[in-house]
Subunit: 200 residues, 2 copies
DNA sequence: TATTATTTCTAACAGCGTTAGCAAAGATAC
DNA sequence: GTATCTTTGCTAACGCTGTTAGAAATAATA
């Protein structure tokens, strides 16, 4: 008797509807205005049903945050693997990061814009830990080639991805759009400047 | 008869109490948990009194945001005036920006952490416009010395203060604190790298 | 002192995240 | 097929948020 299976199937279907509705609302109205009640309306269930699928609202946001980090990490690895030399890898990864942010603004704003980046999350949530590891290992490789391969790795890591974050954060929100070529060029100057700084 | 004067004096006194209480709450519990009712409790008045002094909650936050930008701008100018050469000025300004963020975390988190940076604000609120102008003019001076003094000024401006923003944003929140010398060094490397990038 | 203007408060509205407890529907056993 | 039990979903509430209409209390004026 496939009754239990059907139940599970239905439960996962509702879960999917919750996530789907949440995403729709977020993309249409922004993450800030997303509410449990709006989701409940959208999926045509009452509010408490949502709490039988997710512990709380934050858990729903975390779901997308994890998704975003997984996607971003994939793109970073693609960029990395397209180069051999560690310095060039960092530049390629920066471009990948940049492109991800602009092609997935919803994800990026959730991941870094509002809520809870860094801090505990980075080490507790596996998807974020992976992201961190990729970043750190790449920076380490670049530093290893430099003349002072010491314990500055973590600081360099922070600086590198802070630059990326800063570069992107401001322009993801930005209204007055500049030519893409110009943006790309500025990114390249900034990152290459920093990578040169690491080497020195 | 100084009755009107006394009334104005009292009104400004209440206004001061509102801001003072808001600041106290924000520093003790964070901006996120600041609420109108908490302020009302603190100043020992009812809620609507606050609305006779500020249009809404955002207006109270804006008050501190403006204060923060004024303070930051002052520090930036101090840093700038301590150097002659435009490139060195940028480096000094970066240090000033860095120090401001760490010595005034409450301000910085309000100004850039949550809420509404960039976008319309930058051009509508005078205090922010001044900040923007100082930044742009400094970058312009640095670019004028370079070999390609064209319309990239604004993009460079964005990149420069994006780097600053990113560098600071992540570490203002950061729990595990690194030695200050290390932080300073990383900042210097990053900014000098970028300034060198501008020159190229 | 009576009237008017001002200040302040109470109470509400509409929304939020969250949860306790009850009603309805489903599955199982007889 | 009916009765029992389990699961599912809902109603209604709690306590919080920003905001505001309208009444009450206070202060200033005539």
């Amino acid at each position: 008797m496939g009754v239990a299976e059907r139940k599970i199937r239905h439960k996962e279907q509702v879960r999917g509807a919750i996530l789907q509705s949440a995403w729709k609302i977020a993309t249409e109205e922004g993450w800030q205005t997303l509410s449990i009640r709006k989701i409940a309306d959208a999926i045509e269930y009452s509010v408490p049903v949502i709490y039988s699928h997710f512990e709380n609202k934050e858990a729903i946001l975390l779901e997308f945050t994890k998704e975003g980090f997984t996607l971003l990490t994939q793109e970073l690895l693609k960029g990395k693997e397209s180069e051999q030399e560690p310095g060039c890898q960092l530049v390629k990864m920066a471009k990948a990061y940049w492109n991800f942010a602009f092609e997935n603004k919803e994800y990026y704003q959730l991941m870094f814009g509002l809520g809870m980046p860094a801090c505990e999350m980075v080490n507790t949530v596996p998807e974020m830990k992976t992201f961190t590891d990729v970043m750190i290992s790449s920076i380490s490789a670049a530093i290893a080639q430099s003349k002072n391969p010491d314990a500055e790795v973590f600081m360099k890591y922070h600086a590198y991805w802070s630059i990326l974050h800063g570069l992107v954060a401001i322009q993801v929100i930005e209204k007055s759009v500049y030519p893409d070529e110009l943006k790309q060029k500025v990114l390249q100057d900034a990152i290459e400047g920093f990578v040169r700084g690491i080497g020195g």
